[in-house]
């Protein structure tokens, strides 16, 4: 092994020494490749694992926490919800359509390998500003890719979030979330157990897609135009649909002992992880692996990241049954090996043993690093918004319209109309509200799901930003009438080798841990994506939180928009002047300044519990959380879906623009039927509550301290807000 070769595999010399010690000899090239992917940051979490341990992962609701393909929670009535989030940032930058599409394909596989039928997809997207045509192209491709995959496979994309910020221009963030449902007793695990059981490969043939390291210097790799080979994976949603149906059918038939998808690190990862979890060994013969291209080397076969492939362990003696099910769905399924007692990964090529590595050394004994962390310099140099002297807006109407059509705040209709958000006929609350709500067929109940994470706040204060993300996600779920049950998270950061990034990461994890403890939403899994940086400029710390909540009776599901003219409008929670990181400051041309808003998780919890109780008493018609854009935007959003108006007379001791556009959390706008008002006021007494006004028919009118600041006809607002993205993307 040359130093070059070791380094080009992303391994340090120390790591190489460790490999040698573990094997008791020099690895061969294929083994080196296997170690390099399993010990990569992506697979081994070597920089993050020590910190992730701080996350709460237990609770009576948790059936399966981090460690499996996806988290599993008990949602009552004998059902389990299986969910996880993944990043596909880099591939989406290289080829937006296919990068996003294969991201969706990957997360769907994580869910159905657990035996659950996927019923919902969500996504969190961060792009560079849309003024730059290159960013438009990325966004258009990513959205089309998500749509192309999800629509074809027939899983509704029911929600998500989109942010724009310069730091994402060369490094978009594409996080995709999937949730599935299964009877609790049918959850399947990614374990290879039962010595002698067949190891079966099913799905797409293996090609040279996504083989890592591209610039291999060895003889084996310099011989052809390897490096010029496109390193882009193309998704095949149709094939995955067949895989999904066939796998669920096989698991239901009880002939599957263990199953794992081949995602990152392909055959390598699935074989050694399944063996490691089962305490067994997996032995395979590469000559039996279905191949799409000619003359693939063992190295390439083991490291290929071709999509739409599964590895499963069947029951000895029932292979025929399994193969028949896959045959019914026109899928290629081949027995490529066997479960063995000796806990090693053993790979043969045409009868010749070429790899033998202890599973644990790959899956569990990867190096771990306590990387140095240091508070970033920029944090002590942040401008405080309170120190800036900026005038009140002279024309609130114009300002309001500008904000409504800014990409940060405008309607996401252009995006979600490209997603089939209704297929499977479970979507009770469609995109455009706070959380998506899906019914659970055969029960009275449903689930609410939200993804959140405002990276502007996280940049200003990673720990607080992370708590705000958890709080907002839970608040969205609560506004829908659901009790938050559990969480997943995707942590997108720059290089962990940069102490400042590492500091941001640690703060973030601690923030999430603290908030999730308070909200009693254990983390059931997630994903860490490091190295999101271009030319040394890292993305903002971007944690994305996914919260899943349960509604026991869907008659208590709520949407964010107002229902009827004449209803009374109230604000739950207090408005503090917290403008750091706000859209308002950006809108009036100020730089990003701190401090970001602050949240007290226990206070937030009191508010959310109170809100849920009010909803369950039937006192609330609609509920909408106050977030980006502040109260003014929240109120406008409540009007826009149904196209009704609003008459608000507010009073405040704050400067009116602070009052209207502060992004202080822990606030919810609710509407209440006139005849329920007295009862509502009585029931709400323990929470801070302010009357704002009345739902009207036509105009949006907002007075503060008896001065009419905003008065715009609803159709005008609606047009600007709804069609803003249409205009960006040139729809005539």
């Amino acid at each position: 092994m040359t130093l070059d070769l070791i380094e080009s595999h992303g391994l340090t010399l120390e790591e190489y020494e460790r490999i040698k010690k573990r094997l008791g000899r020099e690895p061969n090239l294929t083994e080196l490749g296997i170690f390099s992917v399993m010990w990569s940051e992506h697979c081994s979490y070597k920089s993050s694992r020590p910190h992730l341990r701080k996350l709460p992962t237990k609770g009576p609701q948790v059936i399966e926490g981090p460690g499996e393909n996806a988290g599993v929670i008990d949602i009552g009535e004998g059902l389990a919800a299986v969910f996880k989030i993944e990043s596909h940032n880099h591939p989406s930058f290289i080829e937006p359509y296919q990068g996003a599409a294969t991201g969706v394909g990957g997360i769907i596989r994580d869910i159905f390998t657990m035996g659950a039928r996927p019923i919902a997809l969500l996504n969190s997207l961060h792009f560079g500003p849309l003024e730059q045509p290159a960013n438009q192209l990325i966004m258009e491709g990513v959205v089309a890719g998500i749509a192309g995959y999800g629509n074809c496979i027939g899983i509704p994309t029911v929600g998500g979030e989109i942010y724009f910020q310069e730091r994402y221009s060369h490094n978009p963030i594409v996080n995709v979330f999937c949730l599935g449902v299964a009877p609790v007793d049918q959850i399947c695990r990614a374990k290879a157990s039962g010595v002698g059981n067949p190891v079966i490969y099913v799905g797409a043939r293996t090609g040279r897609d996504g083989i890592h390291g591209v610039t291999m210097a060895s003889e084996e790799f310099s011989e052809d135009s390897q490096s010029k080979r496109p390193n882009v994976q193309v998704g095949d949603p149709f094939l995955e649909k067949l895989l999904l149906e066939a796998c669920l059918e096989a698991m239901k038939a009880g002939v599957v002992v263990g199953i794992q998808d081949m995602g990152g690190a392909g055959l390598t990862c699935s074989t050694c992880e399944m063996g490691s979890r089962g305490g067994t060994g997996v032995e395979i013969e590469l000559a039996r692996v279905p191949q799409r291209e000619e003359n693939m080397s063992p190295y390439e076969i083991m490291l290929s990241e071709s999509q739409e492939r599964m590895l499963l362990v069947g029951q000895k003696g029932r292979e025929e049954e399994l193969l028949r099910i896959f045959g019914k769905w026109d899928l290629e399924a081949v027995v490529i090996g066997e479960v063995r007692e000796c806990p090693n990964l053993v790979v043969y090529n045409k009868g010749q043993k070429i790899v033998e590595i202890p599973n644990r050394s790959l899956a569990d004994e990867a190096p771990q690093y306590h990387r140095p962390a240091e508070k970033p310099r920029y944090l002590s140099e942040l401008i405080r918004w309170q120190d800036l002297d900026f005038p009140q807006p002279s024309d609130y109407n114009t300002l309001m319209l500008e904000m409504l059509k800014s990409p940060h705040l405008c309607s996401r209709r252009w995006v979600y109309q490209q997603y089939d958000h209704m297929v499977r006929t479970n979507t009770v609350v469609v995109p455009g509200s706070d959380a998506a709500v899906l019914r659970l067929k055969g029960t009275r109940g449903g689930l609410a799901i939200s993804l959140d994470g405002n990276s502007r706040y996280c940049y200003l204060d990673p720990g607080m930003g992370a708590m705000l993300a958890v709080a907002e996600s839970c608040r969205n779920v609560a506004c829908s009438g659901a009790r938050p049950l559990a969480a997943t998270n995707c942590l997108n950061f720059g290089s962990p080798e940069n102490p400042e990034v590492m500091w941001q990461f640690i703060e973030t994890v601690e923030g999430i841990a603290q908030a999730c403890k308070t909200f009693d939403t254990p983390i059931t899994g997630g994903n860490v994506s490091f190295y999101n940086e271009t030319n040394g400029a890292a993305v903002f710390p971007t944690p994305v939180l996914g919260i899943v909540g349960k509604i026991d009776d869907l008659q208590f599901a709520r949407e964010s928009h107002f229902k009827d003219a004449g209803d009374e409008v109230y604000l739950l929670g207090e408005t503090r002047a917290e403008l750091g990181g706000s859209i308002y400051l950006e809108q009036v041309g100020l730089p990003l300044c701190g401090p970001c808003p602050t949240v007290d998780p226990s206070q937030e919890k009191v508010l959310q519990d109170g809100l849920l109780e009010l909803i369950r008493k039937g006192l609330i018609e609609s509920a909408h959380d106050v977030s980006e854009g502040g109260l003014a935007l929240a109120l406008a959003e409540c009007c826009l879906a149904p196209g009704c108006g609003l008459q608000v007379e507010a009073s405040t001791s704050l400067r009116p623009d602070y009052y209207l556009f502060s992004e202080a959390p822990t606030r919810v706008v609710v509407s209440v039927k006139k005849k329920e008002e007295a009862e509502f006021l009585q029931a709400v007494s323990s929470l801070p509550v302010t009357r704002l006004g009345t739902v009207a028919h036509e105009d949006f009118q907002l007075s503060v301290n008896e001065q009419l600041l905003i008065s715009i006809p609803i159709p005008t607002i609606l047009r600007e807000w709804n069609t803003s993205l249409d205009r960006v993307f040139g729809i005539e």
Binding site: D236, P237, F238, L242, D330, Q418, V423, T427, K441
Partner: protein
């Protein structure tokens, strides 16, 4: 009435349609596998939405070669009911059981949203529960719903009253803005000349329960059920 819902590889509204017929409409319903030829004595066949064979090549182009399609042809010749929804529309056209073709949406994007439909013919076995001129609100979700037919054939469609639904605004006006995908003449649904085969791009099965925001889709299924009497 006994309904059969065909499953092709890539069908993805099969379970939705089954659920709507069986649980929302209370009808006996079975799945029919595309490789089979036995129709299990169903009275009506539904070809559901989805992406049969991934919609690769052309929507519906590969599905038409499945063995079950021979039985569908026979069922049609016997005068029994066949309803195509979305991808089912495309398959029935590829199989020449319905006229026209469905091209890419004029805006080149997949569209998922509610639309309004005006009942143009209230006397087909699929619309007796609607009156002529009645407006239904149903969701669409498709990439290729842009109905195209030659001018001559359009005249024939009109003469034979084969146009069953057209896209309209909430008040029933047929306007270019209310046409979501560029369809000729705003056509959303057509029937065959004999009247026992109909297909539409919108999804009635997604609008058959109040919980999902509209139950206008029921009238199409109800009309079919009414035929039994």
């Amino acid at each position: 009435m006994k309904f059969g819902v065909i499953i092709f590889p890539g069908s993805n509204c099969d379970h939705d349609t089954y659920h709507a017929l069986k649980h929302a409409m209370g009808q006996e319903t079975v799945f029919l596998w595309h490789q089979d030829t036995d129709l299990q004595n169903v009275d009506a066949i539904i070809i559901p939405g989805g992406f049969s064979y991934g919609d690769y090549l052309r929507c519906g182009a590969i599905a038409k070669f499945s063995p079950i399609m021979g039985s569908v042809h026979r069922h049609t010749r016997d005068g029994k009911l066949v309803l195509g929804i979305c991808n089912g529309f495309q398959i029935l056209q590829e199989a020449r059981l319905l006229p026209g073709v469905l091209l890419r949406n004029a805006g080149l994007k997949f569209i998922c949203r509610h639309v309004h439909l005006r009942t143009e013919n209230g006397e087909t076995p699929f619309t007796t529960a609607c009156k002529k001129g009645q407006i239904l609100r149903l969701p669409i979700a498709h990439n290729d719903g842009n109905f195209f037919i030659s001018p001559d054939e359009l005249v024939q469609l009109q003469e034979n009253e084969q146009i069953v639904f057209r896209y309209c605004d909430p008040d029933g006006n047929i306007t270019p803005e209310a046409n979501p995908n560029g369809s000729v003449h705003s056509i959303a649904a057509v029937r065959n000349r004999e009247g026992n085969v109909m297909a539409l791009m919108p999804h009635p099965e997604r609008a058959s329960e109040p919980l999902l925001g509209s139950k206008d889709g029921r009238s199409i299924f109800q009309s079919m059920i009414n035929q039994e009497k």
